[in-house]
């Protein structure tokens, strides 16, 4: 499967699903973010290109989805740095991929929530923060599992 297609499809699936599953359900997703994790091995020899794609994705994501311009651009970039670190230092297997993507999700949610409460001068609500994480776990776990097993062979080949 084409690496660019994975990102584009993930982005549009995320866009579509956000309209079907309303908030307070447990079927929320951040597929665009997960797609970054999966495509990294395809850019192993061209990291610059990888980061450029992440910046473009973050820019479009902000333009279309977020109410504050620049947030996702920066967050996606940070996620990309973390992804590069994980991929370069750990082996590619299902457990690592799942753990890394969940960790990434928590960091992403934490930074978004932290920035949001800072700007709006709100108090930190642990319940809201936790619910924003667990509500996204089911779909994201399914998606990363599906992508991992679809691209497993190619990921191994590219890494070793």
């Amino acid at each position: 499967m084409n690496k660019y297609l994975i990102v584009i499809l993930s982005f549009f699936i995320e866009l579509s699903l956000s309209l079907i599953f309303y908030k307070n359900t447990i079927f929320l997703n951040t597929f665009s973010l997960l797609s970054i994790y999966i495509i990294y091995p395809f850019f192993k020899n061209n990291k610059r290109k990888f980061f450029i794609i992440i910046i473009i994705l973050g820019f479009i994501y902000d333009l279309v989805c977020s109410s504050i311009f620049g947030v996702n651009l920066i967050l996606f970039f940070i996620s990309a740095v973390i992804i590069a670190f994980i991929h370069d230092n750990f082996s590619v297997n299902y457990l690592n991929s799942l753990t890394a993507s969940i960790l990434m999700l928590i960091i992403y949610r934490f930074l978004t929530y932290f920035a949001f409460i800072k700007v709006n001068k709100l108090g930190f609500d642990f319940k809201i923060f936790i619910s924003s994480i667990y509500s996204t776990l089911i779909l994201n776990t399914c998606y990363i599992t599906m992508l991992y097993f679809l691209l497993r062979k190619r990921m191994y080949k590219l890494k070793y």
């Binding site: 866009l15 579509s16 956000s18 333009l63 977020s66 109410s67 504050i68 311009f69």
Partner: protein
């Protein structure tokens, strides 16, 4: 060797912490900075959302069909209900015509502007609502080409939703009144008896209690629980008479001088798909 490794680890942690602090500072700067879309951004946004809406269509079609089949179960009851309403419509139509005429004449006499009859309605569908900003913003499928402009009020049949904050040619972004960063207070009135109103300012949304807060109401005024709260029209954005909700509770402020009124919103901010933008009618000078 071991020491060097430990030193390296320490410096990595320091660098990462610095980056995070820097990033959060940049966040806050960006988040507080208001900007409109430039033509290049407008084109990108229009293109991406158009492709997105095409992809979403089959999914929406299926979910609509599922809802449709659910609704079919109550078809007979709904038919009976509608039949009864239809029989009363003719009486209402005549009454509405008379009221409209009276309203226009009175508005002219009192030089009141910003009432609902001054507006055209543009119906729109929500095309995007981001999880992280659920109670903050959403995007609708009408933009500048449909005459939508910044600061137009957005409503549903149940009540006030928010205002337009950003437009591209085909789409617009709406800021909900539940948003912490709405940037303005809304002038409202509470009906306490027939023909008697109390005026106040809607200044905040309590996301824990899920209610709006109204300030500026004298301690001596009695406000019945369940009173309806509507906009006053004392602003360029929100016309008069749009429902906000019903009074749910009353508290005193910190100095015991005024009352803080808690209002339960009439709109369910979690589940709405279609909205109406209130577009001011163009004045015909001929």
């Amino acid at each position: 060797m071991y020491r060097k490794k430990r030193k390296d680890k320490k410096s990595i942690v320091i660098v990462i912490s610095l980056i995070i602090v820097l990033v959060i500072s940049v966040f806050i700067y960006i988040m507080n900075k208001k900007s409109n879309l430039n033509p290049f951004e407008k084109i990108i946004k229009d293109t991406v959302l158009t492709i997105g809406s095409v992809i979403t269509k089959p999914v929406s079609f299926i979910s609509d069909k599922i809802n449709e089949s659910k609704e079919k179960n109550n078809l007979y009851e709904k038919y009976k209900d509608l039949e009864e309403k239809y029989n009363n419509i003719k009486n209402y139509e005549e009454e509405i015509d008379n009221l409209k005429q009276e309203n226009t004449e009175l508005a002219k006499l009192l030089e009141i502007q910003n009432i609902l009859t001054d507006y055209d309605y543009v119906n729109a569908t929500i095309v995007n609502r981001e999880i992280n900003f659920w109670y903050d913003t959403f995007t609708i499928d009408k933009g500048e080409s449909s005459g939508i402009d910044i600061n137009m009020a957005v409503v549903t049949p149940d009540g006030l939703l928010g205002k337009v904050i950003e437009t591209s040619n085909l789409y617009s972004k709406v800021k909900l009144i539940t948003s912490e960063s709405l940037g303005q207070k809304i002038s409202v009135r509470i009906k306490i008896a027939d023909g008697k109103y109390v005026y106040g300012l809607l200044y905040d949304y309590d996301s824990d209690k899920k209610c709006f807060l109204i300030e500026g109401i004298s301690e001596n005024v009695d406000i019945p629980i369940g009173s309806t709260v509507k906009t006053t029209g004392m602003s360029d954005i929100f016309p008069k008479g749009i429902v906000i909700g019903k009074v749910e509770g009353i508290e005193k402020d910190n100095f015991d001088l005024t009352k803080i009124v808690e209002v339960k919103p009439s709109v369910d901010y979690d589940s709405f798909s279609y909205v109406t933008v209130l577009k001011r009618k163009e004045v015909n000078n001929e």
